[in-house]
């Protein structure tokens, strides 16, 4: 297997929100590695911290949120050059001055948000909004920026580009607006794009189109993608590797084929089994008992233990660490992983 080049290394992110209801322990030591050119999907249910992970890395948390611990190391040479950093090694994102961070959010990383109606400015034409990114991040004239903007509009397959350029967001449909947001995120040619539920607001047939486009553009511009979604179907369709999140922790990481075929964390197993599929028909669905915990008072130890069929005493006391369990890059954090694997193998034998 060829050696993959690391683009970003995230470790031990701890993010808290200070709210009226108390301190929300949104992230409790999130870590993962992102390779160049790959699509990493972060999946999980509402409130598991997948969006907060993106916002913590981009340093775009609202005023009540704070990242207390952790490291984000960004290995992009192009961004380093633009920032004028000459010393060896990666960029330490969390310790950059805000001035430099403005540049990173452009050349380095960009964000596609869920709802294109709220992320586009309603009083400017979409053309102006694309040009704003171009003139801020690249030293080009207004005419050149306009040509470039038209090219970007064409690249997201909106035609005629001239006409779309002059339109306001409300004159476009949801799918078209999301494509404009995608073109804005590509404008400064970043090394990494975060797509936070990019198609949740869209219908199935429009979603298919946007996902395809995102995938093609990623290949064309050779960027990496962190896809944040709760839709396991989209994960199976678009990602290379998957990180499963639960209550502020990444509990399992694997390539998508392994993850769907042989999920090892009890939460991942439950999650996959509880989705109704059109490829098979069951009378009753498997489900995970209970509901997602409130992160103001998260459970002690492993945060999944109150809902976990494998839970033992140690799970209540200590948070397990993520470890390489099987084969190439299948990481799981679970105290009782041996039990889980034993059960899986027993099931397999029973089937044979």
């Amino acid at each position: 297997m060829e050696e993959k080049e690391v683009l970003m290394d995230v470790s031990g992110l701890v993010t808290r929100f200070y709210t009226e209801d108390g301190v929300v322990m949104a992230l409790e030591g999130v870590g993962f590695t992102l390779y160049k050119g790959e699509t990493l999907a972060l999946v999980g249910e509402t409130g598991c911290g997948k969006s907060v992970t993106a916002l913590s890395i981009l340093r775009l948390l609202s005023i009540s949120g704070k990242t207390l611990e952790g490291k984000v190391l960004f290995y992009d040479e192009e961004t380093k050059k633009r920032l004028g950093i000459t010393n060896e090694g990666p960029i330490d994102i969390l310790s950059l001055p805000e001035q430099d961070m403005l540049k990173v959010r452009g050349y380095g990383m960009s964000l596609i948000t869920q709802d294109p109606m709220t992320s586009l400015n309603p009083v400017y034409t979409v053309g102006d909004q694309i040009m704003e990114v171009l003139t801020t991040h690249r030293k080009i004239t207004k005419e050149a920026a306009k040509t470039e903007a038209l090219r970007l509009i064409e690249s997201v397959e909106l035609t005629p580009a001239e006409e779309v350029f002059k339109k306001y967001p409300h004159q476009l449909s949801g799918g078209q607006r999301q494509r404009i947001v995608i073109s804005i995120s590509l404008a400064a040619e970043p090394a990494l794009i975060f797509a936070d539920e990019p198609t949740t607001a869209l219908d199935v047939t429009i979603q298919a189109k946007v996902i395809e486009l995102l995938h093609d553009l990623k290949e064309k511009f050779n960027t990496s993608l962190i896809l944040i979604t709760h839709n396991l179907g989209i994960v199976a369709e678009t990602s290379d590797r998957v990180g499963v999140m639960y209550a502020g922790r990444v509990v399992e990481v694997a390539d998508k084929y392994t993850l769907f075929k042989r999920p090892l964390h009890p939460y991942t197993q439950g999650l996959l089994a509880s989705v109704p599929k059109i490829t098979e028909k069951k009378d009753m669905l498997d489900f995970i008992a209970g509901s997602v915990p409130n992160l103001v008072r998260p459970p002690s130890g492993c945060r999944f233990h109150p809902r976990c069929p494998y839970a033992t005493d140690i799970c209540k006391e200590k948070i397990p660490q993520i470890e390489l369990v099987e084969g190439e890059g299948h990481y799981v954090e679970c105290w009782n992983i041996e039990e889980v694997i034993k059960d899986l193998d027993a099931d397999k034998e029973a089937c044979e």
Binding site: I211, E212, I278, K281
Partner: protein, 331 residues
């Protein structure tokens, strides 16, 4: 032959509004157009379609939250009785309300935040005069709470004290209060998470079995509809374009729109995804105020036949036993 529980015949529902100078121009949104189907007791009919196709309007018209412009909605609670929901008044309407209930999409906005669970579930019991006396009412509410898996000690709690999944259970208990024969479920799980969704879907199946209810299950989630339904109707811009047994529609779709919809659906199975042939539809959903002439789908159709599709609207005809489609390809 026994009569079906519900018979919908040539149902139309337009929403009209005025616009322009002195409101002289009248527009109408064709939300439900020429819809007919039957539903047997104990069965589930799934209605799928994208946002704006009129599936929620169809559901609301059937429980008479909207009056249809024309058409019949015939309910046969037993062999001899027939009610037409479309024209029912006063006493008849009360009988209809007992027979047909609805569970709404968003439990946050469909439950009164100032009422404890006791009153939310008890209200239909009072209005339909199904209980006499406070003791009986409370017992009935407790029984319903137990049936949907809510703890009896939570009877005095308010909606905000429950999680999303539990709130949807309250909505289900309220719908069950009148012991209905038909329940319209409008996206009952779109506001809850996947792991909780499975709990709610299992509960609904369980209840259907024990109480012999028919469901009209409205959803945009094809996986969920496939799991829940015996039969499926695919709606596009107000019209039903394909209808048939659930397995048949999913394994052997006939209408080009159904084919595209199924191929666009991401399936949580990477190996299946890798071998799938995808049909990507061009363009967006046309406006229901001014829908395309002829077949509504012809502007986006990948199997477009020519002039015929643009001029005349195809009728829903039976191609195989129980499997109907509205497309010129099958005429």
């Amino acid at each position: 032959m026994t009569v079906p529980l519900l018979e919908v015949k040539d149902l139309y529902k337009y929403f009209t509004f005025q616009r322009g100078l002195l409101h002289r121009q009248t527009f109408s949104v064709r939300a439900v157009e020429n819809v007919s189907f039957t539903l047997d007791r104990n069965k589930t009919l799934g209605v799928v379609g994208e946002s704006g196709c009129g599936k929620t309007t169809l559901g609301k018209t059937i429980i008479s939250l909207y009056r249809p412009d024309s058409g019949q909605i015939l309910l046969h609670p037993d062999e001899k009785t027939t009610y037409d929901v479309a024209t029912a008044q006063d006493e008849e309407m009360k009988a209809v309300r007992r027979i047909v209930q609805m569970v709404f999409q968003d439990p946050q906005s469909s439950l009164n935040p100032r009422w404890p669970v006791k009153n939310i579930i008890g209200e239909p019991l009072d209005i339909l005069k199904l209980v006499s006396g406070r003791r009986e009412r409370e017992n009935m509410v407790l029984e319903l709470m137990e049936e949907v898996g809510l703890k009896p000690e939570h009877i005095n709690r308010y909606p905000h004290e429950f999680s999303g999944g539990q709130r949807q259970r309250i909505g289900i208990a309220r719908a069950l209060a009148s012991n209905p024969d038909l329940v319209v479920l409008d996206e009952p799980t779109s506001a809850v998470d996947v792991s909780v969704q499975a709990q709610v879907l299992n509960l609904l199946k369980e209840l259907q079995r024990t109480k012999n209810m028919a469901y009209l299950f409205i959803s945009h989630d094809l996986g969920v509809v496939h799991h829940m339904s015996d039969e499926i109707a695919v709606q596009y811009l107000g019209q039903i374009v394909e209808q048939g047994p659930s397995d048949k529609v999913f394994s052997d779709p006939l209408h080009p729109y159904t084919k595209a919809l199924l191929s666009a659906l991401p399936v949580p199975d990477p190996e299946f995804e890798a071998h799938k042939r995808r049909i990507i539809l061009e363009g967006t959903l046309p406006n229901a105020i001014n829908p395309p002439p002829g077949c509504r789908f012809h502007t986006r159709c990948q199997e477009f036949l020519g002039e015929k599709c643009t001029k005349e609207c195809p009728a829903l005809i039976e191609v195989e036993k129980g499997h109907k489609v509205a497309c010129w390809r099958y005429e």
